[in-house]
């Protein structure tokens, strides 16, 4: 077992595209770590650079206390699970799981025993004689995981491990993966574009954009106090309200009303106010320190609804309302922020001020 250290890692492809740009990151021993970001942000390139499938253009990669920057993938002692699972179609489940041991020239009987043991732990005991084409998506994923477990690597690298499963299976696979990682205690880095997946599974998350890391933190930190307005917008199943405002006499002036300013900022400072729809309380009567608007769209989310308040000419404000308390479209409504949940960002896509 070992942590993973990246320092100054840059990956520039021939042709001049920089996928990863001078990136520093430490993944602790035994940690379940998510690389999260929109497509094209460099997260997969970063994972492949850790695996050695891409060679870093600059910087160093270490696994444990070994510098592996110049080592071939096979010498790095990592196991990668690909998005399509990459099972060998001509081999049985048993031979697929035993493959890493076959490469290590472990005798047939010994490697099959080990593969059966690991396979049984992943609920594959009855499927050992089948070919991958005869398995369901979830079973294929477990075979790919079993193959990684058999290799007994220093670290697991998962590339979008859940994206090939249907929505319901994805939820159970999430729980399953998290339990497996905790039981084995092997350092794991996984790539995902799904913020809910990262929040649910990871011990810590690195949010990436344009080849750089925008924030590293626990799911609670990343969700509760996003470091930049990009992270704020990207994290959360309902997007955070990001509203233009100006500071006037210790208060924030927005298009939809005024709010107390949570920080001591000079007058006329232009800021972006970030409030999650979940952290706004809806009121159908006028109240102090609230954002006012006309109810536009009401979207049902299950046990709650997302109400969009249209404000004159400015960005609409989303509010999450308990089920049964949804207002009628067209009526006036007010949204009151919960104390301590108003975030301020430097105007124009900037960093967190308070």
């Amino acid at each position: 077992m070992a942590g993973i250290g990246l320092s100054g890692v840059t990956k520039t492809y021939p042709g001049g595209v920089t996928a990863v740009d001078g990136l520093d990151l430490t993944v602790h021993d035994g940690e379940f770590f998510a690389l999260l970001g929109p497509s094209g942000c460099g997260k997969t390139t970063l994972l492949r650079t850790i695996a050695g499938l891409e060679q870093a253009s600059a910087g160093t990669v270490s696994i444990g206390d070994r510098d592996v920057t110049r080592l071939a993938p096979g010498q790095r002692d990592v196991a990668m699970v690909f998005q399509d699972y990459a099972l060998f179609p001509h081999m049985t489940v048993l031979d697929n799981i035993a493959y890493p041991l076959r490469v290590k020239r472990i005798p047939r009987a010994a490697r099959h025993d080990r593969a059966r043991e690991v396979g049984a732990g992943l609920d594959l005991a009855d499927l050992m004689a089948r070919r991958p084409a005869e398995l369901s998506g979830g079973q294929q994923q477990r075979v790919a995981l079993a193959r990684a477990v058999v290799a007994h690597p220093k670290a697991f690298l998962f590339d979008e491990p859940l994206s090939n499963l249907d929505a319901r299976l994805r939820l159970s696979a999430r729980t399953f993966l998290k339990r497996l990682q905790r039981d084995l205690g092997i350092t794991t880095v996984f790539v995902t574009h799904d913020q809910a997946e990262a929040l649910a599974m990871a011990d810590r998350i690195a949010v990436m954009d344009a080849g750089r890391i925008r924030q590293v933190g626990t799911p609670r930190e990343v969700f509760g106090r996003p470091a930049t307005s990009f992270v704020a917008h990207f994290i959360g199943s309902t997007p955070m309200n990001l509203l233009d405002a100006t500071v006037t006499g210790g208060r924030l002036t927005l298009a939809a009303g005024t709010l107390p300013c949570p920080a001591d900022l000079p007058d006329d400072t232009r800021v972006t106010v970030g409030i999650r729809p979940e952290y706004l309380t809806y009121s159908k009567d006028p109240v102090e320190d609230a954002l006012a608007g006309t109810v536009g769209i009401v979207e049902h989310l299950g046990s709650s609804s997302l109400v969009t308040l249209e404000t004159d000419g400015a960005a609409p404000v989303g509010v999450v309302v308990e089920e049964g308390a949804e207002p009628e479209p067209g009526t006036r409504g007010w949204a009151v922020p919960r104390p301590g949940r108003v975030l301020l960002y430097r105007a124009g896509g900037g960093d967190l001020l308070a």
């Binding site: 993938p73 096979g74 990668m80 990459a86």
Partner: protein
């Protein structure tokens, strides 16, 4: 039926009729000139008996097997695969140049290629002798089989290369990379991942180039079957006996034997292919 009639008529006229005519000729003592030209004699299976007991036929069959095995099954197959595998990761301009050169050998007319090879191998002013510093070495006389083998590899590798390029492109990259991260070297990856994926392509390619090479007449233009029958493959033997030697009936019988050998080869490969899908 009405719409396929023209096609059927053409096939009947140019494929079925000649085949049956060959079958008919094969049981006759029918020569290009002399009394047997005017009134062919029926000899039954006599021509076949003669062929199968003729040491010149046995020599020719053996030479053909060596020619096919060395130049097609081994030479074109392996070289074509290696070129495709190496070019896969090569810079695009290298790939372009090599593709163009190899394809050129494939699309040039046989007579032109033979002419180039005669210039290459010529005893007096040949390019190869100039390069190797061996003036006066008579390649086509001293090493006739090696000459036609090298010639056929040079000429036919392009097909295998193209076919394998396409086949290798269909091997999922993630499977190759999985093998790599578990520490599998190139040879092991080839055996465990690449070959199982392209097995069908290998068999199809080997079948095609085997049949083409078996029936290839171009060696005749390079060595004329000689010296002393040392490069006389079956198509050359048929030509020399029936056209040069005038024994049309005997030549037809050998042609039919070739056809049967071809069928046997095709059936053998098709069986292997079917076993894969089972």
């Amino acid at each position: 039926m009405l719409f396929v009639a023209p096609a059927l008529a053409l096939i009947a006229a140019f494929l079925v009729f000649p085949a049956l005519w060959t079958l008919y000729l094969g049981v006759l003592k029918y020569d290009l000139a002399g009394s047997n030209a005017a009134a062919p004699q029926f000899v039954g299976l006599g021509n076949y008996r003669d062929a199968l007991t003729d040491p010149r036929f046995a020599n020719s069959l053996l030479l053909t097997v060596a020619f096919v095995g060395l130049s097609a099954v081994l030479g074109q197959n392996v070289l074509g695969f290696l070129l495709a595998a190496v070019l896969r990761d090569a810079a695009s301009w290298v790939r372009g140049v090599v593709n163009a050169v190899v394809l050129l050998a494939w699309i040039l007319p046989g007579t032109v290629v033979v002419f180039l090879w005669q210039a290459l191998l010529d005893r007096g002013g040949g390019t190869l002798n100039a390069l190797l510093g061996t003036p006066g070495a008579a390649w086509t006389l001293d090493h006739p089989l090696a000459t036609i083998v090298a010639f056929n590899i040079w000429r036919g590798t392009a097909f295998s290369m193209l076919l394998y390029s396409a086949a290798l492109g269909a091997v999922p990259r993630s499977q190759l990379e999985t093998a790599r991260t578990y520490g599998a070297g190139p040879l092991r990856t080839l055996r465990d991942v690449v070959l199982p994926h392209i097995r069908g392509h290998v068999l199809t390619n080997t079948l095609l180039i085997t049949l083409w090479t078996f029936n290839d007449f171009a060696p005749y233009m390079l060595t004329g079957g000689g010296p002393d029958h040392r490069s006389e493959t079956l198509p050359v033997y048929v030509y020399r006996t029936s056209i040069e030697g005038g024994a049309l009936g005997y030549g037809s019988a050998i042609s039919l034997i070739m056809l049967i050998v071809n069928l046997a080869i095709a059936l053998f490969y098709l069986r292997l292919l079917r076993r894969r899908s089972a």
